[in-house]
Subunit: 340 residues, 2 copies
Amino acid sequence: MDKEVTIYDIAKILEISPATVSRALNDHPAINSKTKLLIGQKASELGYRSNTFASNLRRRSTNTLGVIVPRLNSHFMSAVLAGMEEEANDSGYNLLISQSLESVKKEIANAKTMFNSRVDGLLASVAYDTDTFEHFENFIKKGVPILFFDRIIDHPACSGVVIDNELAGFDATSHLINQGCKRIMHVTGNLKRNVYSGRLKGYQNALVQNGLPLQDDLVMVTDLSQEAGKLVAQKIDEMESKPDGIFISNDICAVSCMKSLKEKGYVIPDDIAVVGFNNDPVSQVIEPNLTTVYYPGQQMGEVAIRSLVNHLKGIQHIDTSKTIVLQSELFVRSSSLKNG
Amino acid sequence: MDKEVTIYDIAKILEISPATVSRALNDHPAINSKTKLLIGQKASELGYRSNTFASNLRRRSTNTLGVIVPRLNSHFMSAVLAGMEEEANDSGYNLLISQSLESVKKEIANAKTMFNSRVDGLLASVAYDTDTFEHFENFIKKGVPILFFDRIIDHPACSGVVIDNELAGFDATSHLINQGCKRIMHVTGNLKRNVYSGRLKGYQNALVQNGLPLQDDLVMVTDLSQEAGKLVAQKIDEMESKPDGIFISNDICAVSCMKSLKEKGYVIPDDIAVVGFNNDPVSQVIEPNLTTVYYPGQQMGEVAIRSLVNHLKGIQHIDTSKTIVLQSELFVRSSSLKNG
């Protein structure tokens, strides 16, 4: 590789002052557009890279926001990111994304990369096993704002955007009870995460309010994968006293479970009514169509970026004492309509 | 924000030389591990950020690879990224990902962000409308290797990883012909992209080889979205002389089309046999299950990173005159088996 091209090299070649080059490259209003064009072309021709470090010291801004997500393999997450991109684009920010693959170890490496890339702000939805805030401390110390979304960490210096998971779990379970279910199973993910512990609490509240017993053997903690869906179906098939309803905290897992149950000869919803979570498009492909909780991913992404950008631009500071709660909604379809 | 913490600040506080601090932070073997630990803790405590620019000049390495993709909303792309992450992790690299949302304008902004983040290498799958290489020129000039995957640009300085799209299109269409189809429709994406033009060519070759006529009105260029699938079904419903087979270049679009056709009363495969592309999990949820082309996403991601990292580590230089071609495979299921 060649030696790094500096503004001094560009200035020398064009026979103008380094200050003019610097101003032109920073789009300073005092430099006319013809000069800017000339300098821009020469910089590009020479392969000049803006000195992120030095310009950070001056401008303290890279117009880049970092996003750390657990995985990029769900409709929900792609909806969140689509909303984020749209809002970021409108505000002149670019996103850098990385995935933790549900591992705190990788999340720590990602946070380090984002920190060294000098992002202006960080958005994060934490991994299954994250139980430390340490890897985020450096951002706080430097005044780089962090906003958590969906899977949040409660921290006095950070805000969050979520749905009311407890209410959503309560609604999903109450709906099954209203359909006549008396023995309702719940399949969830790692209970360290607010999204899963909240929905479980909602499930339990609904049972208690309706005088139904809480039974440990009816709650299964899994990784909510397709594979887990098959295992749930197999477990049901082996149970002596089978559930007549099941609330699964993720559509991908729920659809895979329905598929396996159907293959084993169970009729849905007559034998077992099923409710999922996320309103993934696959919920409308499986037959019968899956009742699910609509999760406003696109909106969550938009709101998260808007809060962060407004804070960065000084328009409105984030109130870290408040979590922004978006509304979710139960979409009732044939998979749970026993009285349909 | 505070003033940037330097190695000099750390050195002063610990009463050791800046050179020792620098070496410790770069994991130099001459510094013992106890000292490294002490310096690392102090650096973290003070919120020290490695001076990416300066250390690039020295080490010329950030151990970061940039990935630019069209969208993050498909099973295929998440499989590619999962393969990339796995391979990158094993080699000590971290990925920064950004999406072009199928727009060359955003792709240009992404390339700029990646360039300024000083990635050691770039992996890209280009947007629908990309028709310039200009935004990648700076990387080439700086000796930062670029590898294209799936949707590639032919450029003498870059390598690529693909499947044989022409062969895959040929196989898919030949299969429909073998099932007795005589009037086969093809739904594709933007023909600027090798993946779609290749599959179209394969479709045409299969028709010609079997003495079937090429008809322009049987080829539809769409954005291959769910919405496009509905429009295709509607178009078929309005056609006087209907197709008896259809090859759609994306499972999401194919499944949506099947759903709409079924709602309109068509029987699949008896009235119309359907073949998709990608082996998306939804292909095994729709009934009848969708015949599709298996696309080795995970492997594509692994191979792409391995080539790039081997090149960066000087183990094996990328041969830019060769494109790496991975094997795809037709998975025959009920949606196309007329003689089943």
